[in-house]
């Protein structure tokens, strides 16, 4: 019997487990670094000051203690305090200011990808537009972001300190188009639909006057959803660079600077945020796959 359920179940399990596993991995990595974690984090601390710091930061009883303390306070919304980025500041407060912009950037970019996938499926994108998107999509996000921030700084808002909607919109457009994100989605959807459309059952359905999409959608939906999810996951990564270059005050900058300043509560909180988004997408994909598979396998009425 074909084990169709393996992948969706694996995805569901991963979706639930990843937000717990990844912070555990990071905690393990802190202790895996050469030297003592306390010395690595605060090389100048000595004597009583060092002992107090180690106790305050839960570095005294190994990675599992550090992880369990972090998880138990995280559940109540307390992500700890920043160690070096903004020493003493609550990580939840730092994160709160960045989450909104990152989510807007990611969701807006994702919306463009979804729209591209839908319009391709219903054949509303002319070939000249596809070629244009492919051409622009060849450029890496870095180059487009530099051009965008130059235009923004010179012509729109030369003294930008706060993030504006214009920056977010520009970032979302770059996120969707650069690095072949949108063109890859369009080509991928085209290929899936064309391949499936050549099958005999579709040809027969067309002869009966039915629409191609209506017939192929149940069979192709899992593949299409998988493609879009993989694309959205790439957007999540690309958003970090785009945020930094376009000076969008999002979670990406917190992650990069926090990682390099060894501000591990900040790094764990930022990573947790990204992994939760990935888990939500994974769960959506698994649920859609299971629903489609159950629907396809449901016996017609009147058949035992």
């Amino acid at each position: 019997m074909e084990r169709w359920w393996i992948r969706p179940v694996v995805r569901l399990v991963l979706a639930v487990a990843l937000p717990f596993l990844v912070p555990l991995l990071i905690a393990g990595m802190i202790w895996a670094m050469p030297g003592d974690p306390a010395t690595n984090v605060c090389p100048d601390c000595t004597g009583e000051g060092m002992l107090q710091m180690v106790k305050d930061r839960n570095l005294d009883q190994g990675p599992l203690h550090f992880y369990s303390e972090w998880m138990s306070s995280m559940v109540s919304g307390d992500f700890g305090r920043s160690w070096s980025f903004q020493s003493g500041e609550e990580v939840a407060y730092l994160l709160k200011s960045g989450i909104g912009f990152t989510l807007k950037l990611f969701l807006l970019g994702g919306l463009i990808i979804l729209a591209g996938a839908f319009l391709t499926a219903v054949k509303w994108i002319p070939s000249w537009l596809k070629s244009g998107i492919r051409l622009v999509g060849m450029l890496p996000g870095l180059v487009l972001s530099l051009a965008a921030i130059a235009v923004y700084t010179v012509y729109i808002n030369p003294s930008a300190m706060e993030t504006t909607w214009t920056q977010v919109a520009m970032g979302a457009l770059i996120l969707a188009i650069a690095d072949a994100a949108l063109s890859g989605t369009i080509d991928g959807v085209d290929e899936v639909i064309e391949t499936e459309g050549r099958r005999r059952y579709v040809q027969i359905a067309i002869l009966r006057g039915e629409s191609t999409l209506q017939n192929i959608l149940p069979n192709t939906l899992p593949a299409l959803v998988g493609q879009v999810r993989a694309r959205m996951l790439s957007l999540l990564s690309a958003a970090i660079i785009i945020e930094m270059i376009l000076k969008i005050n999002g979670v990406g900058e917190l992650l990069v600077v926090g990682a390099l300043k060894q501000d591990f509560p900040l790094v764990m909180a930022c990573t947790f945020f990204y992994v939760v988004i990935s888990s939500v997408m994974l769960m959506l994909q698994a649920v859609i796959e299971i629903l489609v598979a159950l629907s396809i396998r449901k016996s017609p009425k009147g058949v035992a």
């Binding site: 060849m138 530099l146 130059a150 990564s237 990069v256």
Partner: protein, 274 residues
């Protein structure tokens, strides 16, 4: 464009990307505070200088040295793992296939750049560089390549294809190496490897650029005495935003980006199925 032309373009492009690294200076020329501005290629051949009087040729050479090795290693990792994924789909081992699926889904669910940034942080200072980043990136990209290769192998017929070829008298080695890898998986593997090659180069440029923007953090992908191609783009940005005479830096940066894209396109074209 014929395959031979595409292959020739690929080889020439790779030579331009990789060879300058062998002649790269150990250290970049020190910044010259007395220099008034950048000079173009005509005033300071062959490629001009940056705003501090440093030859852009040195940037190109050092950048080439920084990216060449790691990007090729990353491409190779993706190619090998992709080939493994495709070949596994032609075996009858459902248990092994399940294990690979689970591993692939786990790695594939992680946001790549987030993992890479954490890996960079965890490494000791003396190990830091582009190679560990490239390897981490390749390992996270590999599940997608394995999936695609497995899908191509499944469309062939998987283990039934192997049995049919065995019935025709071909040896297993010939079937796997020539018929499956050589004839059918080759276009997929080359495309995945080429895309990873380009991604690592652009990733290096992006991370270097981000380090340059944050003046209080050290370089992520190379030593502080080196400059990569991001330095050329950083200089070129001044032309766009501040109207400084560094248009040639911007042009050179865009040429390097275009060269990477041309190399990728040409090798994909040369490696396509007949």
């Amino acid at each position: 464009m014929s395959r031979r032309v595409a292959l020739a373009v690929f080889l020439v492009g790779m030579a331009i990307l990789v060879l300058p690294g062998f002649f790269a200076p150990e250290f970049l020329t020190a910044k010259d505070g007395s220099v008034q501005g950048a000079l173009g290629p005509l005033a300071a051949p062959p490629l001009g200088t940056d705003s501090f009087g440093r030859p852009l040729l040195d940037f190109v050479q050092q950048g080439s040295r920084i990216v060449a090795g790691p990007s090729l290693v990353a491409a190779l990792i993706v190619m090998v793992l992709g080939a493994l994924g495709g070949l596994l789909a032609c075996t009858q081992s459902s248990r092994l296939s399940t294990v690979v699926q689970v591993l692939g889904e786990t790695l594939g669910a992680l946001p790549r750049l987030v993992v890479v940034i954490v890996v960079v942080r965890v490494l000791p200072e003396e190990w830091r560089g582009l190679m560990p980043i490239a390897v981490a990136w390749a390992l996270l990209t590999a599940p997608g390549a394995m999936d695609e290769a497995a899908s191509v192998a499944s469309r062939l017929g998987g283990s039934r294809f192997v049995e049919a070829m065995r019935a025709h008298g071909f040896s297993r080695r010939r079937i796997y190496l020539v018929h499956i890898l050589g004839y059918n998986l080759r276009p997929v593997l080359i495309r995945q490897a080429a895309e990873t090659f380009a991604q690592v180069i652009f990733l290096e440029m992006a991370l270097s650029y981000v380090s340059m923007m944050q003046t209080d953090i050290s370089e992520l992908t190379h030593g502080s005495q080196e400059e990569g191609w991001a330095g050329i783009l950083y200089d070129g940005y001044s032309y766009l935003a501040l109207n400084e005479p560094t248009g040639h830096s911007l042009g050179l940066g865009l040429v390097l980006v275009a060269l990477v894209l041309v190399v990728v396109r040409s090798v994909v074209y040369a490696g396509r199925a007949r």
